[in-house]
Amino acid sequence: MSSSSWLPVQLTSMAHNVDLLFYIMLGIITFFFVLVEVLLITFLIRYRRSAKNQVGVNVHGNNVLETVWTLIPALILVFMGAYSVRYVYEAQNPPAKPLVIEVIGHEWFWEFKYPNGLDTHNDLRIPAGQNVLFDIHSADVIHGFYIPEARIQQDALPGRITQFWVNVDAKDVGKQFQVPCDQFCGAGHPIMVGQMTVMSPDDFNTWMQTELQKQQAKS
């Protein structure tokens, strides 16, 4: 289980990178947050009106200051943006020869189709240490396929395929995580939660085969 009030565990190296980006940005904004709050409180206290007809000093502005507090935030913000670009492409471009799992949103469950034809409901299993690519779409309304521990999501749309990929660390084999639907999709939206299990590649292959046989035996 993830902790309840901060970033969840990092399942992938990409999650690690995203968190790093988050902490860098958090550091910068905390600095400015503290700066503004301290100035605000200081000015409120320091310049409190003490006499009824007291007035403030006669200044209308200052071009140097104005330039400084336009340029500095602009530079920092553009830096944040530029710094983020690399991660966008990293997340966007799937690595070569991934294992492809098809994800289909339904009102209200997740359907997963594995390469060997196996088809499950709300039961997602992925092999650790392998590149897994999700091909995501929807059978009805828009859903949101979201793996908080991998720090990534894409909407599941009807008539359009969205994708993202993960490569889960081997240290997490055996652990289970929840994959909620996070795009509002009606009355069943809150209970539209899949269960994701991380397996070793061998276990994963065995599981895929035996499950498929069970499914075929049933039908």
Binding site: S5, L44, P148, Q183, F184, H189
Partner: protein, 537 residues
């Protein structure tokens, strides 16, 4: 025996219903918006009450209707009409030195359209409420059962029309009806901000009308705009919707910024710092506001890298906003700050809280971080820090600031401070924890949730009750003070904009003689003028 002059009483219908006086229309807008604030607030409390338990207290369908109604009412019937209907209507003609709006009858029409739009939403509470969120994304909104969605679409249409008419009125009034000497450089900053906002309303609202009209056509007339099996594309709706609704978030904050630019110099007794920077940054926000809409759609099916330009524009739009913050702070620097209720809302209440929303905005604007945080409670925290910590705090600053102008009486100060502190504390307790559960991955718009999130949700719910209590106290104070408050002169704050030069409440046609403006409203204060004019008139 107070009444000196016996004016023959006019009937309620003549006095209010048939009025074309911008001040009365402004007050009608304000009272109606406060009424809807209570309705929207009630839905908010229902939403928060449901989340007291991780299992949810109400059934999911009711919950969905509650949060849809909450947001729809708050956005379309409270914040926008309050700022652009009530404040702008009341203040713009007075502040530019005009006797009324350019088109007084159209002004009345825009109020009554808003009223009818509001009734439409109220009717949906009887006949079936919409349940698709205020964003109403298809295909879900197409499949949504009952008449709720249709009421929603009708209401948006009517309110949208009202908003366009109101915008035209403000634009023409500011361009054509300024008093002699009211140059652009002397224009009060509130007027600057409403002018920019009016342009945004004018250009953005038609996109919303297009979005909801196509919804209606798809629902009832067999078109397939959003039916992907027939070649339609649901993402098109999101583009149209956000092409309106992103500018709309600035429509909900720019006039509020304008209020702050009026309140802070008066209580710091200093000229506003950086008049031009503040005015032009509003223009910059108005312009840039049209180029960031797709930051709401980073994970909605666009190519991830297509988000990059929108990420950059979204980060850039934070610059003019931070310029304003620094200018407001610099206005307080070496001022003579008085802790009145409006000043508390403007300083600690607004600046102190709003910046959190601005900062979280830059976090979600970064595409890789939004990949994690989109549609989680982190976004809900962001929205509320900008809309509650921002817009609502400014509205409260403005209401208390102009209350003596509207009524000729002062609010009760003790109750005023009490209301402020409840609002300030309530805001932090309600909305801060939402960042935390959002970071941990709690999706938004859910009636029940994983048990690990329960504690922080309960904290947030307690916060919302504090806000509820605060609202009751604030409104009670305004109501009794309008009747029994201490009488004050025409300018109890020593403020400089033109509305403070006329009686409180202002005479029917604002100015017996159109004023000739010779100076900026942000000229420095001199100690002599303060002792002389206090409590006169």
């Amino acid at each position: 025996m107070e009444a000196v002059l016996q004016v023959p009483r006019r009937s309620f219908v003549r006095e209010w219903v048939l009025t074309v006086d911008h001040k009365k229309i402004g007050i009608m807008y304000g009272v109606t918006a406060l009424f809807f604030f209570l309705i929207g607030g009630l839905f908010a409390l229902l939403v928060r009450t449901d989340l007291l338990s991780y299992k949810g207290v109400f059934d999911a369908q009711s919950y969905n209707e509650f949060f849809t109604m909450h947001a729809t009412v708050m956005v379309f019937l409270v914040i926008i009409p309050m700022l652009m209907g009530a404040f702008a209507n009341y203040l713009v003609p007075l502040q530019v030195g005009a006797r009324d709006m350019a088109f007084p009858r159209m002004n009345a029409l825009s109020y009554w359209l808003y009223f009818v739009g509001g009734i439409t939403i109220l009717l949906s509470m009887v006949y079936g409420m919409p349940d698709s969120g205020w964003t109403a994304y298809p295909p879900y909104s197409l499949t949504s059962q009952g008449p709720g969605m249709d009421f929603f679409v009708m209401a948006i249409h009517i309110v949208g029309l009202s908003s366009i008419l109101g915008a035209i009125n403000i634009i023409v009034t500011v361009h054509r009806m300024r008093a002699p000497g009211m140059t652009w450089n002397r224009l009060p900053l509130f007027v600057w901000s409403t002018l920019v906002t009016a342009y945004m309303q004018l250009f953005a609202t038609p996109a919303l009308a297009g979005a909801v009209t196509t919804l209606l056509l798809d629902r009832h007339f067999g078109t397939v705009f959003y039916d992907s099996s027939a070649g339609g594309d649901p993402m098109m709706y999101q583009h149209l919707f956000w092409f309106y609704s992103h500018p709309a978030v600035y429509i909900m904050i720019l006039p509020a910024f304008g209020i702050i630019s009026e309140v802070i110099p008066v209580f710091a007794r200093k000229p506003i710092f950086g008049y031009h920077a503040i005015a032009y940054s509003s223009v910059a926000i108005g312009f840039l506001g049209f180029f960031v809409w797709a930051h709401h759609m980073f994970v909605a099916g666009m190519q991830m890298s297509a988000g990059i330009p929108f990420m950059i524009s979204s980060l850039v739009i934070a610059v003019p906003t931070s310029v304003k913050i620094f200018n407001w702070l610099a206005t307080m620097w070496r001022g003579a700050v008085e802790y009145t209720v409006p000043m508390m809302y403007a300083s600690l209440g607004f600046i102190g809280s709003f910046i959190i929303g601005g900062f979280s905005g830059t976090i979600v604007a970064a595409v890789p971080l939004d990949m994690h945080l989109h549609d989680t409670y982190f976004v809900v925290a962001h929205i509320h820090y900008v809309l509650f910590g921002g817009a609502v705090m400014c509205i409260m600053a403005g209401i208390h600031f102009w209350f003596p102008k509207l009524t000729g009486r002062m609010y009760n100060e003790k109750l005023g401070y009490l209301g402020f502190w409840l609002y300030f504390i309530g805001t932090q307790v309600t909305f801060f924890p939402m960042h935390l559960v959002g970071l941990a991955g709690m999706p938004r718009r859910i009636a029940s949730y994983a048990p690990i999130f329960q504690t922080w949700n309960q904290v947030a719910t307690i916060g919302s009750y504090i806000l509820g209590l605060g609202t009751i106290i604030i409104l009670y104070n305004l109501m009794i003070s309008a009747k029994y408050g201490r009488k004050v002169g025409h300018n109890p704050w020593h403020a400089r904009t033109l509305e403070w030069t006329v009686s409180s409440p202002p005479p029917e046609h604002n100015f017996d003689e159109i004023p000739v403006v010779t100076d900026s409203p942000y000229r420095p204060y001199k100690p002599e003028e303060l002792t002389a004019s206090k409590e006169s008139a």
